[in-house]
Assembly symmetry: C2
Homo-oligomer: 226 residues x 2
């Protein structure tokens, strides 16, 4: 395979896929073979995905012969493989770098806690297998998580790790946008909402915005009471 071939398989509306698309856009790296797949049609379990990602999950990513599939691993890889291209996503300053790594990894915690609430019924397709106690626990854990992120939010003009847009924003913004898309209370979380509003028009973010959300009927407010 040509050294500069980049294959990316994604599903629209999937936060880890958005993280990767956003990192690629910031790094000004062109995807030569982009395939948008559908979870609904079970395409994440198709042979083309399994050939790259044995988990049968999206994203699935290949650069030349190098395969990386975990979204956060792909982001770290991209910064390293294309160090001098586009935006520098890992700051040089050690204090900013420390904060960046911390928020970057915590974004994954936020993502999972959102997933545990939004996808609970999908995880337990049989109604009789669902538990009100688990639903309550997942919801409480997400509330506590979002309250914590409310305290992490930067002032207008700043970003999660400091003065610059970094990998922390690349991985947290898609999660924050998911919260807002699913009806997060603007009154309860004004700082999260400001961060969202400040960043939603940024070129790389607007360019990679999931068509799934643009086209979806409005009014899914699954997270309004978080």
């Amino acid at each position: 395979m040509a050294k500069d071939t980049i294959t990316l398989m994604c599903a629209s509306g999937c936060s880890p896929c958005w993280m990767v698309a956003l990192a690629l856009c910031e790094k000004e790296v062109e995807v030569t073979d982009y395939r948008e797949l559908s979870y609904e049609k079970q395409e994440h379990k198709s042979a083309q995905v399994l050939a790259i990602n044995p988990r049968g999950q999206l994203p699935a990513f290949k650069h030349g012969d190098i395969i990386v599939n975990n979204a956060m691993a792909i982001c770290l890889y991209l910064e390293s493989a294309f160090k001098s291209r586009g935006t520098q996503l890992i700051p040089d300053d050690i204090e900013e770098k420390a904060k960046m790594y911390q928020r970057f990894q915590e974004a994954d915690t936020l993502r999972q806690k959102i997933g545990n609430v939004l996808f609970y019924d999908w995880m337990y397709p049989e109604e009789g297998h669902r538990s009100v106690f688990a639903v309550k626990r997942n919801s409480d854990l997400l509330s506590a998580e979002v309250q914590l992120w409310e305290t992490y939010m930067p002032k207008t003009g700043s970003f999660l790790a400091g003065r610059n847009f970094t990998m922390a924003d690349v991985c947290a913004f898609p999660c924050i946008a998911a919260l807002v898309n699913y009806g997060l209370s603007q009154k309860k979380y004004p700082k999260i909402m400001s961060y969202y509003n400040d960043l939603k028009g940024k070129t790389s973010i607007a360019k990679t915005w999931p068509s799934f959300w643009i086209n979806a009927p409005q009014g899914n407010t699954a997270l309004k009471d978080i």
Copy 2:
């Protein structure tokens, strides 16, 4: 605070704490203020932890005035802050680096799936809130995960990302050791067992081995049927 002061609060037997202790040992960085705390005594919710880690979780880490608490973020930070000291935990070679980042992030998935099985009763302290369907699902997910890791295991003399011991091993070994400590089937997972046996005597690993496991009564086989 002196620039080189390193505070680390840990609990023995906690995998993320072991990851950090192991990274510090490999980087030959001395912890100047080490505090071993007890989850049982709820010390992770004490003022000394909350002052550094608002999640009230362990590890809690401070280097001079720089605070990082997520174990994987601490590992990435340490490699950067002490680049020229001790073992190089992020390889230069781009292929090894890609594999390292992938396994490093996947170690967190393994850790969580182990936790969902081992700590289920702790998550749902009231017996009436527990669900046999959730227990079954958690167990099935862990089985699938461990089967995947069985395919990831390197040959004797190699490591998870290639020829060298890297950050991937730092974060995966404590999880692998947890599997073995809780009775993983040697017959079903011979490659995982080989990796464990090859690495358990490594100086940094032996030196940081949790006293909790050494002193615990043998025979907790909670993971024998995974």
